[in-house]
Symmetry: C2
């Protein structure tokens, strides 16, 4: 398994994740499957929200809505599937306190355009890459068969999401600027996870 | 054709639209098909945005995400279909100035809960009902065959959207309060359209 989510685009190797997820997180996650599942539902909903927010902010950007609208639909499909499993286990959707992860990353998005657009793509891609890495771990190590199947199924389509955000950035920004900014943001992303959050979350 | 969008729920007749759309609007719309189509793309995107916004605001409300997530996906599918037709005609998605309609309705949503929830459902339902009425007109009167087909196809699923918002409200609020508030908001909705907006829009 490739924890670093290294992808090759042409001759360029793209490395999203600097640190791989700790065994401590995995232990916490697999011993709290329902809380992780509930948080995962919220993550899918939020991922759809991010795609839609970008579609609103850059509503006249050529080629953007064409890829983000299907991505948002896919996240919502996953959300509904997780909701269905939750309901089958007598659990309804309820609010969960968020770990600091997403807000730390959001603060790293620069305010002025076009840097804001670049950072937004990269931060969304980083979150997708981390989700993908952790869903892979859950698909392998969840003691529960239904959950292993769920995560395995979702992985298949989640795998292309960080590639979509990379492509959106790569089509619009100089490759060197892009890679150097990704390195900076990937550092922020990995640092945000160094200390294990006390509550079990997808991004704790 | 039932312009008033009267629906019967049990013994209760629900009337969404007080005034039917004027011939002036229809004339303006059919003579500006591309601008209406572009605006329609934005309307589908915004309708998905409204559903998702409600899913965020009421994320632990039982039975809400279960119906609004598929609705949002359907709006996004329609958005993509309109985008495809626009592209086929050499037109890309670009910003359009919005008519005052949606913001007038948004201002009528009361600030405090649970009134805010009730008003949000009814306003969303009213906008869906008006869209449905106007898409019906366009499906009948557009001179362009491809557009008549488009609007006819979209109508089939759009028809149930205002019913979804009605049901969300009806499951949570007293029927008498609901009907009396719908009458007030339906008046705001119809009044917002009395004067024809100078630019051709779905809700002008």
């Amino acid at each position: 398994m490739d924890h670093s989510k290294t992808k090759v685009f042409g001759k360029t190797k793209i490395r999203w994740l600097i640190n791989k997820t700790s065994d401590d997180w995995l232990r916490l996650a697999v011993s709290n499957p329902m809380e992780i599942l509930l948080d995962h539902a919220h993550c899918e909903r939020k991922a759809a929200g991010v795609a839609l927010q970008l579609m609103f902010r850059y509503s006249s950007e050529p080629g953007l809505s064409e890829v983000l609208s299907p991505l948002a639909r896919e996240e919502l499909e996953h959300f509904e599937r997780v909701l269905y499993i939750l309901r089958g286990r007598g659990q309804s959707l309820q609010k969960l306190a968020s770990p600091p992860y997403a807000s730390v990353l959001a603060k790293s998005i620069r305010k002025e355009e076009p840097k804001k657009m670049l950072d937004s793509f990269l931060v969304a891609g980083l979150i997708e890459a981390r989700s993908h890495e952790r869903m892979t771990l859950l698909s392998l190590h969840s003691p529960d068969h239904e959950l292993r199947t769920l995560y395995t199924d979702l992985l298949k389509s989640e795998a292309k999401h960080f590639g979509i955000y990379w492509k959106l950035a790569d089509e619009r920004f100089d490759r060197n600027i892009l890679i150097s900014r990704l390195e900076e943001l990937a550092k922020v992303e990995s640092d945000a996870l160094v200390e294990l959050h006390h509550e079990p979350r997808m991004h704790s």
